[in-house]
């Protein structure tokens, strides 16, 4: 016959082992969630404040290989530079929707936009924007045209645009579209107009 104190001891041990297993599982789940948050490269932008304005976004469409103007109402802050950033972030949100006509990576973002005199704008993309962009001439050029046209159409006075990635000049966006030079807003607009004919 098994002594009573031995039976109680085994029962207590089993309860302790079960409790530790449950605790360990919860700890692993919590650690995994923290890792996911740490891996998310999306910067947390402060919410835009300011009066809501109607802007025209030039949205790329892979199916037609062209840009189409699309009106959007977004809150725009007072500063010219902040307005430009909000504008392109609104464009980016269109591309990150599930039914996007020109999908971009969920982690893609605009780090900053610098408006430098006279008439020059510098768009600084984050690394996932370029690294996770689909590689093709048409896809990359549509992205570039969309950024340049949207900026030029809504921020008066911009005549040329340069695109950086993570603060550095980069040879191409994803293997094709040349980012080493300033884009001439007029030339881009003319070629888009010719393509639309």
């Amino acid at each position: 016959m098994i002594p009573r104190h031995l039976t109680l001891g085994v029962a207590v041990m089993l309860v302790i082992v079960l409790s530790m297993g449950i605790y360990l599982r919860q700890m692993r789940r919590s650690a995994s969630q923290m890792q996911r948050l740490a891996d998310d490269a999306r910067p947390i932008a402060p919410p835009a404040s300011g009066p809501t304005e109607t802007v025209t976004l030039y949205v790329a469409d892979d199916a037609t290989g062209a840009l189409r103007p699309q009106s959007a109402q977004i809150p725009l802050p007072g500063g010219r530079q902040q307005r430009a950033e909000e504008l392109l972030r609104a464009l980016l949100r269109v591309y990150q929707q599930s039914d996007s006509p020109h999908p971009l990576a969920p982690a893609a973002d605009i780090r900053s936009i610098y408006l430098i005199a006279p008439g020059a704008a510098v768009i600084d993309l984050n690394t996932p924007f370029a690294d996770q962009h689909r590689s093709s001439i048409l896809g990359e050029q549509l992205t570039v045209n969309s950024l340049v046209e949207t900026l030029a159409a809504n921020v008066p006075g911009i005549t040329r645009v340069k695109i950086l990635v993570d603060g550095n000049s980069r040879e191409t966006l994803a293997g094709h579209a040349d980012l080493s030079e300033f884009f001439d807003v007029t030339t881009v607009a003319q070629t888009l107009a010719q393509g639309a004919q």
Partner: protein, 472 residues
């Protein structure tokens, strides 16, 4: 001390000179390959007193092929067949089985060269199909692709020689004093049972011969001759013309006259036509080496598709009479500046960069979207806008290619793109991005699909030959 970059630049310059020398040699040795998926011509290289050919180029249009060198070993995979070659050795392995070459295997600029007279034994092991190699003529037939010809003389006045082919043909016809010559560069025409026929009329002889990758049918006569096509290109009628003969003023064919496109007519003249000026075209397979381009499917990289496509375009342009330089003929890494420098120093008449993409359908033709130009310095053009003077002709070439593609029921559209090295080129320059066809992504590596596109591009470029030839 020379840096690595300088070495690379010198190597590219040397390769360009070598290519140029090869391209302008009139008597290049060639191997023609006829198969159900593609017909193409390859250069034959003389090494160690024997004739060699690049095995990769032989197999590239026929399936998926990749190769890499490991020391003295050169390993190649064609579809699912693995093979192992050793530089300087005749013993090779295909699917683990031993084969013996007639001369040592060679590696030349990363290309694996095999003796041409070993192809009869090698190719069936890779292809699983019988081949028929007319070795002295360097004409190789894969599968049942031959076109038969029969000749029949009609001795009526004027005499006419009717040549019937089992498939449509489109030979280059030239006239010489005392005869008419038909050159079959792309058709798999095989010799008839009796390759030389003698007649007792004004048409005295018809002789079939083949050499250096082409077939040749020469008709000798004591009077001038005229040739006409009928039966959708399956019949060529050669008729003797004498002054006052009915053939000089009426169609030699009975029945209704064929359509203009079908009925090409050539009459003999005593003066040989002057040789056409050879125009230099640069074909640049984009990406390569460590720069892989887009991942089109799992395991299919853009750099692989562009290389195969470029080789087919080279054949098509050469068929149109162009001299062609491939900027990359292996898995080599070239910078954009090296590509631009090679093309500019070659003083080519046109530059075509080839790309491939998984999105969309058909083909997209790009000309340069020029950035804001730096100022020219005296006679020196700004590097980032060197294309500016040639851009109108680039756009004309793009329009001509789009038009030809649409004629071939190939979806094509033109765009401007900020794409290097187009901006840095002094000659008309464009890029072609091949997208999937009706069969989806499987079209991209298909030699048949690529050849259809390449033929349309070559036709488009050839339609501007006079304007391109006027370039400095």
């Amino acid at each position: 001390m020379l840096t690595t970059k300088t070495h690379k630049t010198l190597a590219v310059a040397l390769a360009t000179v070598t290519f140029l020398t090869a391209a302008t040699t009139a008597d290049d040795k060639r191997l023609s390959i006829y198969s159900s998926v593609a017909t193409y011509t390859l250069p034959v290289i003389d090494r160690l007193g024997r004739e060699y050919v690049s095995l990769l180029e032989v197999l590239e249009p026929l399936g998926r092929v990749s190769a890499h060198a490991e020391g003295q070993h050169w390993k190649m995979r064609f579809n699912n067949t693995d093979s192992d070659f050793v530089a300087g050795k005749t013993r090779i392995k295909i699917r683990g089985r031993d084969f013996t070459l007639t001369a040592p295997f060679l590696i030349d600029n990363s290309r694996g060269l095999v003796p041409i007279n070993s192809l009869s034994a090698l190719l069936p092991a890779f292809l699983g199909n019988p081949i028929n190699f007319h070795e002295p003529a360097r004409r190789l037939f894969i599968g049942d692709v031959s076109t038969q010809v029969t000749a029949q003389l009609d001795s009526s006045n004027p005499p006419r020689l009717v040549l019937n082919f089992t498939a449509p043909v489109n030979p280059t016809i030239s006239t010489e004093p005392g005869g008419l010559r038909m050159l079959f560069a792309r058709e798999p025409v095989v010799p008839p049972t009796n390759p030389s026929l003698t007649f007792d009329t004004a048409i005295t002889q018809a002789t079939f011969s083949e050499s250096n990758g082409t077939a040749d049918l020469t008709v000798a006569a004591s009077v001038p001759l005229m040739a006409s096509f009928s039966n959708n290109g399956r019949t060529i009628t050669v008729v003797a013309i004498s002054s006052g003969s009915p053939a000089a003023s009426t169609s030699p064919d009975a029945g209704p006259p064929p359509s203009a496109a079908e009925n090409q007519t050539t009459s003999s003249t005593p003066q040989p036509s002057p040789p056409a000026k050879r125009i230099l075209a640069i074909v640049d397979p984009a990406h390569g080496g460590t720069e892989r381009g887009a991942a089109l499917t799992e395991g299919l990289e853009e750099k692989t598709v562009t290389l195969g496509f470029a080789r087919l375009l080279r054949h098509e342009l050469e068929r149109q009479g162009f001299a062609v330089i491939l900027l990359r003929n292996g898995d080599d890494t070239l910078t954009l500046d090296q590509r631009a420098g090679s093309a500019n120093s070659a003083h080519a008449a046109i530059y075509v960069s080839l790309h491939a993409a998984a999105e969309g359908t058909g083909a997209r033709i790009y000309t340069s979207l020029l950035p804001i130009a730096s100022a020219d310095k005296g006679p020196f053009h700004a590097w980032n806008a060197a294309q500016a003077p040639a851009l109108p002709l680039s756009q004309s070439a793009a329009a001509a290619i789009i038009s030809e593609m649409q004629k071939h029921q190939f979806s094509a559209r033109g765009y401007s793109a900020s794409l290097r090295p187009l901006n840095n080129l002094l000659m008309p320059a464009l890029a072609v991005e091949l997208a999937p066809g009706p069969n989806g992504l499987s079209d991209l590596p298909s030699a048949n699909y690529q050849q259809k596109a390449a033929a349309a591009i070559a036709d488009g470029i050839a339609s501007l030959r006079d304007r391109l030839g006027a370039q400095p």
